[in-house]
Symmetry: C2
Subunit: 259 residues, 2 copies
């Protein structure tokens, strides 16, 4: 379960206790970026005091999404970007014949909806992998503020560009790697991202099924299961259901090769 993940850096995360600033406190249980434990990794991470407050007024709306339900669906009008506050999401493309393809998993501090800017309409379903919470960032207001705050514009461009880099990594993986390399790269990627959030790098919980992992990596669920078993047999990892412990990250890295 989630609780078994070890928190290395003491960053308390208590949504219900965090106070918000300003006037709308009475009407909405809301949270300010200035007190959010994710402020070091989230979109407004470059903003100075005054600008951060202004950003807070844009991103006041929080939204809870129950496990399995969608934050938005393909075809929805694009109104806002979403920053994951807690929980996790998958982006799912659905074809006309019902086939699904997962294009990404999204952890806290990561932005959802970027690919919808261009068409002005979402092209994917964003489905919560567990009960989750997001900050809604209305895009029109964000663009307006970015005009006035150079560092925000820059940060926004950086975040989007970073998304492209991440996708290129996955393309690499899908195009040229064996099943073992894909799994190794996947585990290392999760490890790095959890670490960035202040969790242990070598021990974490998969929030997605084998089937979802396989879908994402371009493999079948059986292959995912087999490779994980093989990794365990070879002492690279210890896997118990969704609990993963990386026992030999170096060997995993060697498997992937150095890009």
């Amino acid at each position: 379960m989630l609780q078994s993940a070890i928190r290395v850096q003491p960053i308390p995360f208590k949504p219900s206790l965090v106070r918000m600033n300003g006037q709308s406190a009475a009407t909405r249980s809301s949270v300010a970026c200035s007190t959010c434990c994710l402020q070091g990794v989230c979109l407004p991470c470059d903003l100075a005091g005054g600008d951060l407050e202004r950003f807070d007024q844009i991103a006041t709306q929080k939204r809870r999404v129950a496990r399995g339900s969608a934050l938005y669906r393909s075809g929805d009008a694009f109104e806002a970007l979403y920053a994951v506050r807690s929980g996790g999401f998958k982006s799912v493309g659905v074809s006309q014949n019902g086939d699904e393809k997962i294009t990404g998993f999204h952890l806290p501090g990561e932005l959802l909806g970027l690919e919808a800017i261009s068409p002005g309409r979402h092209g994917y379903n964003a489905v919560a992998l567990e009960d989750s919470e997001v900050c809604s960032i209305p895009f029109a207001a964000l663009e307006r503020m970015a005009l006035a705050v150079p560092s925000l514009q820059h940060q926004l461009l950086r975040v989007i560009s970073g998304d492209i880099s991440r996708d290129h990594g996955l393309m690499l993986l899908l195009g040229r790697m064996t099943a073992e390399q894909r799994l190794a790269a996947f585990l290392l990627s999760l490890s790095r991202r959890y670490e960035r959030l202040g969790f242990a790098a070598s021990r974490f919980v998969l929030r997605m099924t084998r089937e979802e992992i396989g879908n994402y990596l371009g493999l079948t669920l059986e292959t995912v299961s087999r490779v994980l078993s093989r990794f365990q047999r070879e002492g690279l990892v210890h896997v118990q259901q969704r609990d993963v412990e990386l026992k030999n990250a170096t060997a995993l890295r060697d498997l992937v090769g150095h890009w």
Copy 2:
């Protein structure tokens, strides 16, 4: 689907000025965006008269890149985005052990270098597939101008976001499609992009080798060759070396399926 770039109304492309097929005959007749035949599809396509002139002053520098040489290399500092004026490029990631992975092909009117914004350093080699010409757009100046010109900021975000969509299409392809589907999707993508530039949709010239196509699609060059031969046998296309004619685009589309 696959390679959606900038979404704008297509403006007729004048083959007499910039020739895509056959020998490349680059033109110097116009250096200003305001007179460029790509202005309908390129980055500044939303700009009004005065802003377009200002943009012209940012993007004055043209650069020629000979076939096979690099516009920039992995590790280079990120200074500018590049708009392809004529010719074509590939983006190549190179691993420490020399393995290469092509993440994209870039036709006229498309932007190069977007994925370097976040790290501030290029992560790929941009290699010209034929003698080519690009417009250099210094990024610092572009960001500055985007602060003052809302439509430019918006367009910039759109273009980058569009790149993400394009990459997702490729991920889909790499993750779930057979060799036949990949080739079909690839040909249709090229067809659409040439059409956008004002060329015939059903007849074009591949600027890249079978090996490069295979690398991009996650296939070997032999498989690419075999599938093209099969397509020809089945009357879907006519292929003679690099010349391609789509004889039955509908059948190709059916092969890919509808995403």
